[in-house]
Symmetry: D2
Subunit: 319 residues, 4 copies
Amino acid sequence: MTAAEAVAEILRQIAGEVESHEDGHVADYIPQLALADPAVFGLAMASMDGEVGGAGDPRAPFTIQSISKPFVYALALADHGLDAVSRWVGAEPSGEAFNAISLEAGTGRPANPMINAGAIVVSGLVEADEILPFLSAFAGRALDVDEAAYASEAATGDRNRALAYLMRSAGALPGEPGPLLDSYFRQCSIRVTATDLAVMAATLANGGRNPVTGAEVVAEPVAVLVQAVMASCGMYDAAGDWLLRVGLPAKSGVSGGVIATSPGRCGVAAFSPRLDPTGASVRGVAAVRMLSDRFGLHLMHNPSVREEQRLGMRGTIPS
Amino acid sequence: MTAAEAVAEILRQIAGEVESHEDGHVADYIPQLALADPAVFGLAMASMDGEVGGAGDPRAPFTIQSISKPFVYALALADHGLDAVSRWVGAEPSGEAFNAISLEAGTGRPANPMINAGAIVVSGLVEADEILPFLSAFAGRALDVDEAAYASEAATGDRNRALAYLMRSAGALPGEPGPLLDSYFRQCSIRVTATDLAVMAATLANGGRNPVTGAEVVAEPVAVLVQAVMASCGMYDAAGDWLLRVGLPAKSGVSGGVIATSPGRCGVAAFSPRLDPTGASVRGVAAVRMLSDRFGLHLMHNPSVREEQRLGMRGTIPS
Amino acid sequence: MTAAEAVAEILRQIAGEVESHEDGHVADYIPQLALADPAVFGLAMASMDGEVGGAGDPRAPFTIQSISKPFVYALALADHGLDAVSRWVGAEPSGEAFNAISLEAGTGRPANPMINAGAIVVSGLVEADEILPFLSAFAGRALDVDEAAYASEAATGDRNRALAYLMRSAGALPGEPGPLLDSYFRQCSIRVTATDLAVMAATLANGGRNPVTGAEVVAEPVAVLVQAVMASCGMYDAAGDWLLRVGLPAKSGVSGGVIATSPGRCGVAAFSPRLDPTGASVRGVAAVRMLSDRFGLHLMHNPSVREEQRLGMRGTIPS
Amino acid sequence: MTAAEAVAEILRQIAGEVESHEDGHVADYIPQLALADPAVFGLAMASMDGEVGGAGDPRAPFTIQSISKPFVYALALADHGLDAVSRWVGAEPSGEAFNAISLEAGTGRPANPMINAGAIVVSGLVEADEILPFLSAFAGRALDVDEAAYASEAATGDRNRALAYLMRSAGALPGEPGPLLDSYFRQCSIRVTATDLAVMAATLANGGRNPVTGAEVVAEPVAVLVQAVMASCGMYDAAGDWLLRVGLPAKSGVSGGVIATSPGRCGVAAFSPRLDPTGASVRGVAAVRMLSDRFGLHLMHNPSVREEQRLGMRGTIPS
């Protein structure tokens, strides 16, 4: 068995194990999301040398939703630098849910770019028409927008509208609520697969260079910053528990996607629509956690201990 | 110049740079702390092969204060396992200051073991007389308690008493307030040096084995968990910014100490009494940040990028 | 000196005393408000037998702003009854500022109808075109809308828009944000004088019957409920202190108006644009407080004690 | 039928109606309280001319608990005046439960004297041994302390201890936690009956003069202030709803007592141990509300409307 075959076998085992999970509920607050097939499960992994493996149904399409947030944050950082971006959005975990208000008293600055308020601000810091090509460069192929999902988002986004008006009332919104929310709803409606997301995550893990296409999408310092914010804030009010038990920068979305990065080693992604109470995919979270365990990816591992545990797997994807 | 000499030179440079920082104020809410000499600065680093370097005054003694928290948490995890400990204390950043109340509604469970409420609970989960020997094993020498500081803590700890009674009223305190706070105040009064703390941090970074003495102080999974909680909660309400800009598990204390771990690479510690508004040492934070930059220790770095940046330093302490 | 002359003399004395107060700042968050002449002061009082007295400039016009809230709440109560209205808005003091979010967790129901969120909901419970005639019946003359102020409100009402969208996202808004806010901004722009407001307050104090025109504007139980909510919530985060020191149901507005009712005795109103930090008129509050003291109007007075203090004034307005 | 007989008949009717309420639960967080007979119900009313009527079991004894708070606040006001007392405790409704923390940010000053934190501070402002004689003067007989209940309070008062230490840590406690809490627990354990409480309430309503004994217990301005705070804060997080529907200053206690005052007219009290979720007696609240309705006591009534409703009852107790 080659190393790549060994990895593929592990992915298949994990897919098999998590497919028995039937807990959780498909998101229904956006009508289009409620149409998702709850039984779908996809898992994908991309290494630093560009190998991409998958299990289940890694080519099933879905809307990216909140997983767009770290990538648009990367675009804002690339355009303006950390200091300029930090004037508009913080980087502190809020300890609250994805749609929490969490605006800094006095300034109206959102706590971090992973909650909706912060992501709306970040969308306002970039050119709306740069977002789709930029995320496509991360994925290594031309992504498109799911127009039905976009229309559905726009029709039901009252809480996001409220956040935008609250921030504008505090002078904390870099643009007009209408076009800015439009851009935000469009970025959430970009269509991806688990394979796409694994390559996107691997591009961050690889210091900003897409390991499949070889393109340098962002500079290494930007990739570092984005993964740091994913580590502290990507899993909302479960961020601390995630870092404890999985130990990887990650981001989930309400359509059922979840990504994680292992810096210098791999990007992983899973997709399954049923969500836990924090709004993360039940099977997706379980799969990424197993994957982190199986390949010893936890950031806090002593790599020399890790190596002893991985006898015979040296040189494979997660090394 | 040997590798060790190169490292020593970098530590000296950093010490020289930060000693010009005169911002911040020595903590005065515990009388004994207010007596500290504000001009002292110590910096130390310990590698996985047991080399220990320092600059400034790395042998200056001070009380460990909140830096005891991750180590006593390690003891509780070693004694009871994560599931049992999690029933008493969470692992989520509270986004609040070190003395915040941050108890879970209903249960009274503290948000995490790095805030005072959580640390008091954790002290109640271990035998009071195991703490000093356990921390001594991390340091690789017999530590002692600064009795004057302990008396001073005990006389002024009203807020901690309040936290203990609040938790007991919710059935969330594993013991009696009196002896439990006594044990907590004692653990905060353990006397250490920057060198001690660097070895203690290196022991965590090394997967629980003290790299100087060779003793296995805790099992690797415990060291992983402790560093994960340090990463998400160790720097209180500045935890996100710290992970963004420094990228290492860390813990600060009000006496002016700060530690950071780089898993599989090194432990670092700095000491200087003047504090910033979040209660962390101004010079200590600056020094650890420079050190992370200089040696490319940020957890989110792609190590292959890192290696190119470290030409000529292969094999030295921070590799 | 007749009783009416005695009352007029007291009003003149109070006007003379408060006109020396130059503290506070004219509201500037709505451009039109910032144009107000800070020196204007008007004071008026209307008795249960329809006598109306005044001092200073009681005929100076200004926009009613938040003082519209209790009257539109009266309209909603008259139309639907307390139980139906209570499903949309509570009656508890929020202990927070006028523009606080204060929505009930889970339901999104605003804490009370005196804060903006609650007043917006209440506006949605009544027909937009009933508001102006209804308030006119309270005043006893045909009021009109200050169109320039209305345009100014509508252009700067981001925080109110945010509140409306937040409530709609929770299913807690009885209407569409656009027309509902339009109606709310119009009601805030109704033009009144201190004399108008004194008659409006006296109508509440008189159990819903306008003491000047004799018209029964609302039933007595509605007048009772409205004054009860004014007593507990009318002065926002200073409501408790107001009840302690002045002891009357009251409502202030950011244009500088303030009203108070003394059930069965009189209605009073004052106007002066400079505001204290809670958003209430500095001179208006001082004048109403003096008036309550001078005439022994505090709700908690023992009337027999009061009567002894008022020898020689029996039968005058505030009896 | 004389007026007094008419009143007695109404009290009997109300007692008959509320005795069918079997909702609610006897407080169990203090062991001694859990021993109360849930079936007991007492109702009493005292007029300004010293007539005292009752129904049910108005002589059943119970511990006064939080109903002590307004009376000890009266003692503090009598001793020091409002300005001095206000430096230690505010008068704003907190919108929170009786045992809420509700300390002002920065100063640690409790929101009001009706929540536990505020009442503990108020106890510290008076001489411990003045409390029992002072409350006895309000009741018009020598009250005593239920020593078993006191021992029970002292043994389980962790949350109150926490509040005391929190306040001391902010320099906001006028005394030592130990003796101060001891005094507070003793005042809560004073034994009263519904008849006692009705006379105590009537003393407030009568401007501080006990209508039965004729003694002036406090000056009228103190009685006014105490009733104002009862109106805004006495019913905790249900204060606004109470003022809306009952319209009287009031105070409840966890043993099942509730009092209300009608300034210049009467004092009323009810007792029954089963509590609603806000911690107020289910039957007690129902009885006081019926009583307010039946006698037209709502503070916001226009008395002339009231009089028409009370034909044939002029001169009776609630006039």
